[in-house]
């Protein structure tokens, strides 16, 4: 034998190989796959049920909050008597506009800092 690639060792590796025909290996894997699939299905079912239950419980307060926000957002910040000026400034003279402009300003500020 030499210390390079050894042909005798190669033969031993080949002889040691087994066929494994007729045992239950593949069936066992398929059973494990089915079990895993069932477990995943069960976990998803539980999560969906919990989500639906949560939605049912929280539906009322969530809709109330949405309703309040909807009423609050168009409220004018400054009362303007003149009709045409009120209409002209309406895109920026509201709670919604203030929130939007604030978010835009913060976004630009952080981009400027991180530049």
């Amino acid at each position: 034998m030499t210390t390079s690639h050894d042909l005798n060792l190669q033969k031993l590796f080949t002889q040691a190989e087994q066929d494994f025909r007729g045992d239950s290996f593949a069936e066992d894997v398929l059973k494990r796959i089915d079990r895993e699939r069932r477990k995943t299905l069960l976990v998803w079912s539980v999560l969906i049920v919990l989500a639906l239950a949560g939605l049912a419980l929280l539906a009322s307060p969530v809709f109330t909050a949405i309703g309040m926000a909807t009423q609050l957002l168009p409220v004018s910040l400054v009362e303007i008597e003149t009709e045409w000026l009120r209409l002209l400034l309406s895109p920026i003279n509201s709670v919604a506009a203030t929130i939007a402009l604030g978010a835009l300003g913060i976004h630009k500020f952080f981009r400027w800092i991180l530049r």
Binding site: S4, F20, F25, A26, V29
Partner: protein, 187 residues
């Protein structure tokens, strides 16, 4: 859609991979039937433990089933499975000291009831090697990979691989000296 076992048995591997990717369990079972002996033998040479090898092989096929949609080239199934099997073995050996069972041959023998004596002796000798050396030897002799391929596969320098294989071969030659003569006579 269900295909007959005869159709699946005659189908080329690329077709079976394609069907498995659509979630066809029977096609995957056929793929497993074709590839299981190779993967199980590889894991047995890596681990030297029949029970552990079969468990790891099952995990390899389960992982293959889960991620077969990521196999875009069906002709690459072999290398893809091999990579998965070796990674599975490396993860296992990192979690558990692979030399823990080295030298405990009496217990190991009881797990080799269905195995030939050559396999038992070979696994016993492989168990005496350091994990890195053992992996290189298995990839070289069992998978018949070249030194360069092993270096690329394990992401280790070529010189290290050559050294591992030289050292491992020498050690196996000493351990398996009894098999040297009959094999030479047989030629």
């Amino acid at each position: 859609m269900r295909y007959t076992s005869d159709f699946l048995a005659r189908s080329p591997e690329s077709v079976l991979v394609g069907l498995s990717r659509t979630g066809n369990r029977d096609a995957f079972a056929e793929l497993m039937a074709r590839r299981q002996a190779w993967i199980r033998n590889l894991m047995r040479r890596c681990s030297g433990d029949c029970v552990l090898a079969d468990d790891l092989s099952q995990q390899v096929f389960m992982q293959a089933w889960r991620s077969i949609r990521q196999l875009h080239d069906a002709d690459r199934l072999g290398p893809w499975l091999k990579r998965m099997a070796i990674n599975m073995w490396l993860q296992h050996s990192r979690r558990n000291d692979p030399l823990r069972g080295a030298g405990e041959h009496d217990d190991a023998d009881s797990q080799h009831k269905d195995t030939t004596s050559v396999a038992v002796d070979l696994d016993r000798s492989l168990a005496t090697l350091a994990p890195d050396v053992r992996l290189c030897i298995v990839l070289s002799y069992h998978e018949r990979m070249t030194h360069r391929e092993i270096a690329e596969f394990t992401r280790q320098p070529l010189g290290t691989i050559k050294s591992h294989i030289r050292r491992g071969t020498k050690k196996l030659q000493e351990e398996l000296a009894a098999y040297a003569e009959p094999l030479e006579e047989a030629e």
